[in-house]
Amino acid sequence: MTGPSQPEAIPGETISLQESRRLAKRHKMGRAWYVLFQAATMVGIIALATLLLKIIDQSFGYVAFENEVDPQSLAVDGVLIEDLPKEALVQILQDNISVGVFRRLESEKPFNERSRSDVYDLVVQRVVEPKVVHTWPLSVSLLQRSSVLAEAGEKYPEAYITFVSWIDPQFVTSPQSSDPVLAGVRTAILGSLWTIMITILIAFPLGVGTAIYLQEYAHDNRINRLIQTNINNLAGVPSIIYGMLGLAIFVRSLGAITSGSAFGVGDPSTANGRTILSAGLTLALLILPVIIINGQEAIRAVPASLRQASYGLGATRWQTVWHHVLPNPIPGILTGAILAISRAIGETAPLVVVGASTFITFDPTGPFAKFTTLPIQIYQWTSRPQPEFRNIAAAAILVLLILLLSLNASAVLLRNRFSRRI
């Protein structure tokens, strides 16, 4: 830097040259870092895009099937099974599967009550028995179609190739199965919904109650400060710890209640307390701090003048809270609760610890039933070594993401709708 007292001592031109060179360097530096900051942001977006593309890529694609029995050989008098009447299809079933299995199918639903397409599906599942021998992801299926077909023809001459959408109405409506082609997420979706319902019933009143207590009733003393710190810390406790708490308290100590045997309604197979109720209660403890913190933030935004006006007219504390304070933060409280619930829907680790069932094919009947949930199902399918289970895991992830997306969208809509009015 040059002092203003001696401007003529150093030639002015040199200084400005030096300065402009330094300035150019500084600006260059600024531009370089700007690019770096932008690149970092792009990395985040690329990660999200890759994740979603990978899941979609795995959810669709070509599949090579090999049939246990050639459908051509099942044709009666030259008529293919696609065109056979129902009676002939029942006959084929009877001829090709064991008596015990046939009787079980009959007792599930008598054959004369079943529709033709239902019986046809049974023939395909039980007699033809297509087995997946190889799957290709969507990107390969679309871009290198010819090489897929060539590879399949070379490696699996017996197989036939079809394009399969792993996620379809049948996937959503059929129960779990050990065969990836037939497996669905119906049991898991119902399990998730039951669990979340219990979670909401417990966590919402308790959470909002705590938020009201801390914002409207609590004095600033040591106990209430402790409660506040405690809630902030509970929000940071890993979810798996809540799972262990649930295992120790709800499953083990309160097993008689959570399995329903205390009320005489429990199913003897769930007498160990690993039920929907235990799972719902565990998740309720998990999202309670989130609901409380969001609720407090919403209530805090209500101006004090509203309370003072109400007290000035002689209202009691609860009248003030219920009629004048609470109507304002309700959209905020609900938005926070929905976000907490969408977190609970995606939780896996605590439910594994609480004891989700590894394999159930029947729908949950109530809070005392055994359960599995969507994330649990994804976890189990992903950890299997066979590649076709990765495909149905991807399809289940799509179902889960669609569920979460619609929940979050409803939260945003709720916020926009109510915030306009107030």
């Binding site: 900051f37 977006i45 994740l51 990978k54 899941i55 109650g209 009733y217 120790a248 992903t382 979460l404």
Partner: protein, 322 residues
């Protein structure tokens, strides 16, 4: 018409309305429903304390049973390099090092990236760009962790294997779990750091610009130091989150304790071990059951300690501007 103005006759006297025989009672009435409601609210307030006590009590009880078992003691637990319940060896180090490796990799990814994104969002991006980018990051934060686990196993691991060679990178490894965990924590670091950066008053930036600083110099030399306490808190919360993260490591890091610092080797973390052991039908009062509670207690105190430190940093070192 009469000149007199008709005054409406008061049908009831004030004395009748307020019943002057008895003096007006201004004390508040007992309202039983309000007492019940208040009772419920006080119960709610106390409930969170019960939860914490429950965690400490249940974990502590089972952990105590674990340490009372013959052949297990605290010293061996913290210094033993082998965790083999069948051989009755319970040294936490192999599980702890795996947690350390995944957490370190996750933070190596999440901190620089998260800080850069936060600086970009708070100092560079126009409001329009910010309104597009922030929801995208929020989506990233809202994706369930089991989905990240799937991503680590089906994308990151094959990617690393094609990059470094199949004989170097195992099918299950801590590197891919750590990297994906970094992506998971990125939105947390970003949003907490951005909050801290935006809380720095405008006047500081304007003063810097007034002295001729470039935008980068303002951001890095003025705004970031002023928000350093918030950024440090975000960093520590990120570590705590990474230590407690379960599904990614359960799916991608491997099943089986392995005392190694090599990120391309499979190794089971503390959380991964808890999930694997409790996933099977575990019998109560077995040494396996007790041992996972000992790990859980350690995990609880680690995350609690980190959370308390981060709160203290925010309170202690926050620069308050008028």
């Amino acid at each position: 018409m009469t000149n007199q103005i008709q005054i409406p006759v008061q049908t009831r006297s004030i004395a009748q309305v307020f019943d002057i025989e008895k003096p007006l009672d201004l004390r508040s009435r007992r309202r039983f429903n309000e007492i019940i409601i208040q009772g419920f609210l006080y119960f709610c307030g106390g409930f969170s304390i019960l939860t914490t006590l429950g965690i400490v009590y249940e974990l502590g009880k089972e952990a105590l049973l674990f340490f009372r078992t013959g052949g297990v003691n605290l010293l061996k637990f913290f210094t033993g390099t082998r965790w083999q319940p069948q051989a009755f060896e319970f040294g936490i180090l192999p599980l702890a090092t795996a947690t350390l490796v995944t957490t370190a990799i996750a933070m190596l990814i999440a901190l620089p990236l998260g800080l850069c994104v936060a600086i970009y969002l708070s100092e560079y991006a126009s409001p329009r760009k910010r309104s597009i980018l922030k929801p995208i990051l929020e989506i990233l934060a809202g994706i369930p962790t089991v989905v990240y686990g799937y991503f680590a196993l089906t994308f990151m691991t094959p990617f690393l294997r094609s990059l470094f060679g199949r004989d170097v990178v195992e099918i299950y490894n801590t590197a891919s779990a750590g990297i994906v965990m970094g992506i998971l924590i990125l939105p947390l670091i970003t949003s907490m750091s951005e909050d801290a950066l935006s809380a720095v008053p405008r006047s500081l930036r304007e003063a810097a610009y007034g002295l001729g600083a470039t935008r980068l110099e303002t951001a890095v030399k003025i705004v970031v130091p002023a928000a350093l306490s918030g950024i440090a808190a975000a960093f520590i919360i990120g570590i705590s989150r990474a230590i407690g993260e379960t599904m990614i490591v359960a799916l991608a890091a491997g099943a089986g304790p392995n005392f190694t610092f090599n990120p391309f080797q499979p190794a089971e973390t503390m959380t991964g071990h808890i999930v694997r052991i409790s996933g099977g039908d575990i019998s109560y009062d077995s040494i396996d059951y007790n041992s996972i509670f000992a790990i859980g207690l350690l995990l609880f105190f680690m995350t609690l300690g980190l959370n308390l430190i981060s709160q203290r940093i925010v309170r202690r070192f926050r620069e308050v501007y008028e």
